[in-house]
């Protein structure tokens, strides 16, 4: 076991999977010599060579679609999109091609491909280096969507994503890349199954379901509410598609109150899906309306610190929302 940051854990997962399986390869912009703009692939080209760790032209559609070709021919590519915001030039390839290959060929072809991308804001990245894109991809059957928020989860889930027979969009909250360290296991001991949420704090009064960077902020809010005598149960979804409905239902049946906390635009965000499913499935256990605490309906997070702060839900705002629910 070694202490790892989230970005180091990503790198370890890639290195271990490349070591284990010669079909695993990495491609993307600046992933080679530079080792990626966040250093997630640092050292991999020196270790595995320029073919298995390839710098591509500056064209996301190429990255995704060429990776798809490799996947169809038996490779296990991990494509890096430099920022999740730049997955959109590849949107057609992801939605119309990658996601539909298996269905349209009646199971004849599969597409075991991982598309990694740093996501989310709070790093002064402005409108095009801060977006939360998960809802676009969660809407698409045929894709899996993973969004870890701890080093151990990042490593374990990325290793599983690489081994998964289907395409996985793997979103990494860039604000947490170097936010902290934890002990992370090596080899198969590190594996985490896709589709399982984590109950990261127990509490009787209200459930907060979250993912990504806001897990950290939600835990801060929960600690603050504890001092007021409000006990918050916090669930980190970790995988968004397929998401762990059972764990969430179990928690909400105990507390009777639930908020979904997410950074993306409120309308049509993934939290809206969680809220709708819970409202349908545990109406009889609810003592308060299912609530969303989310980013505002503004196109993206601006660069100015004043505007960035105004966009990003902070512990105060999340605590206020949870307090309202607890007192409902």
């Amino acid at each position: 076991m070694a202490e790892r940051t989230l970005v180091q854990a990503v790198r370890d997962a890639l290195a271990e999977e490349m070591e284990r399986d010669p079909r695993v390869c990495v491609l993307g912009e600046d992933v080679g010599l530079k080792g990626g703009v966040f250093k997630a692939t640092e050292g991999l080209q020196a270790r595995f060579g320029p073919e298995r760790v390839m710098d591509t032209p500056l064209a996301e559609s190429s990255i995704v679609a060429v990776a798809q070709g490799l996947a169809l021919e038996g490779y296990r590519p991990v494509a890096e999109i430099q920022f999740a915001d730049y997955s959109f030039p590849a949107f057609n390839q992801i939605v119309n091609e990658v996601a539909r290959i298996r269905y349209r060929s009646n199971g004849d072809f599969g597409c075991p491909l991982v598309i990694r991308a740093p996501t989310g804001g709070g790093v002064r990245g402005g409108l095009y280096h801060s977006q939360s894109v998960e809802a676009f991809y969660c809407h698409v059957p045929g894709l899996k969507v993973v969004l870890p928020s701890t080093p151990a989860d990042a490593k374990g889930l990325l290793k599983s994503a690489v081994r998964d027979p289907d395409p996985v969009i793997f979103l990494e909250p860039k604000k947490l890349y170097r936010a902290g360290r934890e002990e992370v296991a090596e080899g198969d001991g590190a594996l985490r199954r896709l589709g399982e949420a984590a109950l990261v704090r127990a509490g009787r009064d209200v459930t907060a379901i979250t993912y990504g960077y806001l897990r950290v902020v939600t835990l801060q809010a929960a600690a603050r509410l504890q001092e007021e005598g409000i006990e918050v149960e916090v669930v980190d979804l970790r995988t968004l598609r397929p998401w762990d409905v059972e764990t969430c239902l179990g928690s909400v049946r105990r507390t009777g109150r639930v908020a979904v906390v997410y950074e993306a635009n409120r309308t049509g965000g993934f939290g809206a899906e969680v809220a709708a499913e819970l409202a349908e499935r545990c109406f009889e256990s609810l003592d308060a309306p299912v609530t969303r605490l989310a980013g505002p309906d503004v196109p993206a997070m601006p660069f100015s610190p004043a505007l960035e702060q105004a966009f990003l839900p902070d512990a105060d705002r999340i605590a206020a929302g949870l307090r309202r629910l607890a007192r409902f």
Partner: protein, 344 residues
Amino acid sequence: MATKTQELTQKGGQHRHRALGLSDEAALRIYEVMRLARAIDERMWLINRQGRAPFVISCQGQEAAQVGSAAALEPKKDWVVPYYRDAGVALWFGMTARDEMLQFLARKEDPNSAGRQMPRHYGSRERHILTTGSPVGAQLLHAAGIALASKMRGEDAVTATYFGEGSSSQGDAHEAMNFAAIHKLAVLFICENNGYAISVPQNHQMAIKDLADRAAGYGFPGVVVDGNDVLAVYEAAHEAVKRARRGEGPTLIEAKTYRITAHSSDDDDKRYRQAEEVALWREKEPIPRFAQYLRQARVLSEELDREISDRVNREVDDATDYAESAPDPSPDDLLKHVYAQESR
């Protein structure tokens, strides 16, 4: 194959600028804007290193490609569709040092986006600078659209769009050139080829040496020009503008240049390029080169050069002071302009 600069007329010898139709005053104006662009940029790095601004992206080394081409256009009549290094273009089209610093520090008064966008994302309807996003390559298509509008209105305005050689790999870049060619649109596609897209060298970006060669495949001229020779850039752009105004369609100008700084303040270029290579290009920097030409042509005296330095430094000092004491946007600005005011 693309035309090379040396095949273009190089008449004029000691007075190339006059042979190109540039007065001494015009040549000096070009020089001063290049100097201003550089001085603003250097100040930005200083402020960044002092921890007072999180991010710099530079124009350093590319001033000739930017100012030389913009100087062939007519501000307010023509349009520019720049990318995130084009300080020289923006200044030529009317941005001021204050505007630069207001944007750099994300102040409310920033005329480009009121602090919403990262530095060097220009935009002003009044100044005919199209608002710039970060996703590279998209802007080439917007230039085609603007030029189509000019054509449909029967106007002879020209649209110049700028991009890096890396960005030319985007599908949008290809689509834009194809579209502009079909309709003989008045577009200048100006590639600032600085040899790298962040860390990725040109030979991993394309299999050809001269990007300008691609123009032939779309059916319009491509020109390779020494991007550090401001008069050569001006000459190529001037020719392309004339062609475009005559309704003969687009030109692709590849200005070979070099990015003197790292990609941005977040980048460490020592990981992927040799210090010797950077040093070599420092020798070829466009500003000292033009200064030397102007001195030889007896247009620039030492005294005049000092005057220009003083003026530029004063402007940058003033801009910095002004922007540093200017207010931030207020939190409720966050919700403005998602839709048109009247559509509520």
